[in-house]
């Protein structure tokens, strides 16, 4: 059996002490081990930001790409070999800002990958500027008169774009998060978990306590994840109470199953047949 420790590697971790990312990393390892997937069968693809560094701190195949571009790279990799288990680590700035167009397109394609958005409502790597999920009017070092854009709601946008699996987690609830990651990976299609996390260095508002006072598990209070309208109502909920858990889950056909050429086997597993190519093109 694969153990969470099999995912440890000896590369020096570079996050701030107390960062929510440590807990997310831990939940990832637990979830992969729970599914008995060995590290060499995992592929971690990330963009830029503190979340983007995640793949370096875990054992497995990695592609640490460009700011905002993890999803297109993951789409290409999954298309080339849909047997790969691909997890994308992104952040609120990386995914909802720089990569916004790719975020929408990946939902529409329904690529069978798991997207973990480490959402701390701030830019950590570049030291504390507003992110797309920062609340309107929040004062930062750069936006010192308060931010002037409304915050982006990834949950309602993802639902509106037609996502098949939508969940929200919190780094402080590792057990729940582990379960969400496992379910997201088991889901055949594009799965988003927006993971709320504190940023101990730059977000003095949305602290561990702030979240602890607000998050609740919708599965404890009762929720029908097949009900789109109810999911949308929960997706719009923010403030005193923040729902976590699987908001929406709907059976869909993943991207690679929509493509005829990928029906029988993976793209990479075909042998080059010069005579066949020759007959076709000449």
């Amino acid at each position: 059996m694969v153990q969470p420790n099999d995912y440890n590697n000896d590369f020096e971790n570079k996050w701030c002490p107390g960062c929510g990312n440590f807990l997310i990393l831990n939940a990832m390892k637990q979830a992969f081990a729970a599914q008995n997937i060995p590290p060499e069968k995992m592929m971690f693809i990330s963009g830029i930001g503190q979340a983007g560094k995640t793949p370096h701190f875990i054992q497995g195949n990695i592609f640490h790409t460009l700011h905002g571009r993890a999803l297109p790279v993951a789409t290409g990799a999954k298309t080339a070999n849909h047997d790969l288990n691909i997890v994308v680590n992104s952040g609120d700035g990386d995914c909802y800002g720089e990569g916004g167009n790719h975020f929408l397109a990946a939902i529409r394609r329904n690529v069978d990958i798991t997207l973990l958005v480490h959402n701390n409502q701030v830019y950590g790597l570049t030291k504390g500027q507003a992110s797309p999920t920062t609340a309107l009017g929040t004062v930062t070092r750069l936006q010192n008169q308060g931010t002037t854009s409304q915050s982006f709601n990834p949950m309602s946008v993802a639902l509106a774009a037609g996502i098949g699996f939508l969940a929200r987690g919190f780094s402080g609830k590792t057990e729940q998060l582990t379960d969400l990651i496992r379910r997201a990976m088991a889901y055949p299609g594009f799965a988003l978990i927006d993971i709320l996390q504190p940023c101990v260095s730059f977000n003095k508002i949305n602290t561990q306590k702030w979240y602890m006072d607000r998050v609740y598990d919708i599965e404890e209070t009762g929720h029908d994840s097949a009900d789109f309208a109810k999911a949308m109502a929960l997706a719009m909920k923010w403030g005193d109470k923040i729902p976590t858990g699987v908001l929406y889950e709907q059976e869909t056909v993943p991207f690679h199953q929509r493509i005829k050429a990928l029906g029988k086997k993976t793209l990479i597993s075909h042998a080059f047949d010069a005579r066949k190519v020759s007959r076709a093109i000449l």
Partner: protein
């Protein structure tokens, strides 16, 4: 005596100009004649002024014709625009509503009226094709057979509609004949009509490219549409990306996962791809990008041609890294160089750019059919079995030649780490100063061997006093101009560049030293001339530049070269 004529069919977008051109091309092809066909169109679907310029000869032709022997004016404007360009005994077919008849070499035909008589206004193109072929003396039977084949799938009714329309066209032309006559004997020369777009698609497929990602952009879209007919026959996936950024990054992702990938765009899209180009470079992921050039900057002239992205593609993306740049001079060369780009990109784990343009991508030309799919494709991938301990595999391990054995993630025990950040041998982020120097050196160190892979420019009459130097799609036009200048007694040769970067500066210098050389380029700032100066220290004596977005013609080069030489 060679017969070599040029037919121009002009009118508004949406009048079916390209259809007429295609019909004529196919009839000529079926009779063993050679064609070179250029479509000139505006960025609009209806209206404006577009034309097809079709050169037909009983000898191979590889450049567009210019002086018009037959003008087919689907509107009055085409006639007024082209009057000055008519050859001495040129004939004009004028689409008319009212006039019918032949005077002063203008044959007025009511194309639409005749099409309606035949059963449908939509067949006006077929009427026109019939009239033109009649004037050229082509037996009706050839056109009839072609129409039967072309519309076979659409049934008897459509075939009859078109053959009737064709007959109307023949009837309207009556006994009127153009002065030059081909011998219209049906024959199969084994040649094919092909354009650059299709040749690139074929080259990619022959290279085992299985993933095509793109965002539609003229004039590159034709490459992707050329792949479509093969999608049912071969294991390939094509994905229209949300933008060019996604297109290039998808190609990188697929390539990282072990499948050869292609993306194609034009200059504006290439601008968006430059970030991805750098990612391919630092992560040492093979990547082939086609940049089909059109005039810029920004949107520029969307449907027209240029050679103005050379300096850009050579320098695109920040910092420095090795890359291949190829610029084919014909569809056949586009096929060969696409294959070479794939092979070398994978061998050296560097990006390769195929630089074409609207002229090469869209122009149809009769080519000898020597396209070959290589039986055994060399691949440059390592597997667990090739390693002493797959557990110790390091994606970027230092080697003598800078090329680290490339394993594919998820295909074995070896763990593959690729990173856009500067990284150590294991692919982990490294900010170490010594490591940065060593990694830059490793990547750039590949250049030495890469240069050895490159063919030198082709030289014609290299001992001439004056050499015309050009690159990419203008090759055959320069050759034709050079031949004509030599016939006029000028001591002129040509240097034709198809493999641009990296270049062997010493051997390029040997070709050009002690010679007067004139650059021939379709840009405003003589980009190849600048590169030659920078790399060889040799300065061009003059430049024939054309920056209007329209194709080069041999006559233009002859005229400008003669002026410079005087």
């Amino acid at each position: 005596m060679t017969i070599d004529i040029t037919v121009k069919i002009g009118g508004e977008a949406g009048q079916g100009i390209q259809t007429i051109g295609t019909l004529l091309s196919q009839v000529c092809h079926g009779a063993g004649l050679f064609i070179f066909s250029v479509d000139d169109f505006e960025s609009r679907i209806r209206g404006g002024h577009s034309f097809n310029l079709l050169r037909i000869s009983d000898e191979p032709v590889k450049a567009p014709g210019n002086g018009l022997d037959i003008l087919v004016a689907l509107d009055q404007r085409t006639l007024s625009l082209n009057r000055d360009n008519l050859a001495q005994d040129a004939m004009v077919i004028l689409n008319s509503d009212t006039d019918v008849g032949f005077k002063e070499n203008i044959l007025s035909i009511p194309l639409k009226g005749l099409a309606k008589e035949a059963g449908g206004a939509i067949t006006a193109n077929t009427v026109a094709a019939g009239a033109i072929l009649s004037i050229l003396g082509a037996p009706y039977k050839i056109l009839e057979n072609l129409l039967k084949n072309r519309f076979a799938a659409k049934g008897e009714k459509i075939i009859n509609l078109n053959t009737t329309a064709a007959k109307k066209g023949y009837g309207a032309a009556g006994e009127i004949r153009f002065s030059k006559k081909f011998s219209w004997t049906p024959q199969d020369t084994g040649a094919v009509i092909i354009n650059g777009s299709r040749a690139i698609a074929m080259g990619a497929l022959a290279s085992d490219c299985r993933f095509f990602s793109f965002y539609p952009m003229s004039p590159a879209t034709g490459i992707m549409t050329s792949v479509v007919p093969f999608m049912d026959k071969l294991p390939i996936v094509m994905e229209q990306a949300e933008d060019e950024i996604a297109a290039v990054n998808m190609a990188i992702g697929a390539s990282f996962a072990g499948v050869r990938s292609l993306t194609a765009t034009s200059g504006g899209g290439f601008c968006l791809m430059t970030e991805g180009l750098g990612l391919a470079a630092i992560s040492e992921t093979p990547l082939v990008i086609v940049n089909a050039q059109r005039p810029g900057p920004a949107t520029g002239l969307p449907t027209r041609t240029a050679q103005a992205d050379l300096l850009f593609v050579l320098n695109a993306s920040q910092d420095s890294f090795p890359r291949f740049v190829f610029a084919p001079g014909s569809p056949m060369e586009a096929f060969e160089l696409t294959k070479k780009a794939f092979a070398l990109s994978e061998k050296y784990q560097v990006p390769a750019i195929v630089l074409t343009d609207q002229f090469l991508n869209n122009s149809q030309v009769t080519q000898e059919n020597t396209f070959v799919v290589d039986e055994n494709l060399p691949t440059f991938i390592c597997h667990d079995d090739d390693m002493t301990d797959p557990g110790q595999y390091m994606r970027y391990c230092f080697t003598q030649d800078g090329i680290s054995p490339r394993a594919i993630p998820g295909r074995g025990k070896a763990i593959v780490r690729a990173t856009g950040n500067e990284h150590n041998e294991a692919g982990q982020i490294s900010e170490d100063a010594e490591n940065k120097i060593a990694m830059s050196k490793k990547r750039n160190g590949k250049c030495k061997a890469m240069i050895q892979e490159m063919d030198l420019p082709r030289v014609l009459h290299g001992d001439s006093n004056t050499l015309l130097v050009g690159w990419g799609s203008s090759r055959e036009i320069i050759i034709e101009a050079c031949t004509a200048l030599r016939q006029k007694g000028k001591d002129v040769g040509a240097v034709l560049i198809k493999e641009i970067w990296p270049l062997d500066r010493d051997r390029w210098r040997d070709i050009l030293k002690d010679r007067t050389f004139i650059m021939v380029e379709q840009n405003s700032n003589c980009q190849m001339g600048q590169i030659i100066s920078r790399e060889t220290g040799l300065f061009y004596h003059g430049a024939v530049l054309k920056d209007d977005g329209r194709p080069l013609y041999p006559e233009y080069i002859i005229e400008k070269t003669t002026q410079i030489m005087e």
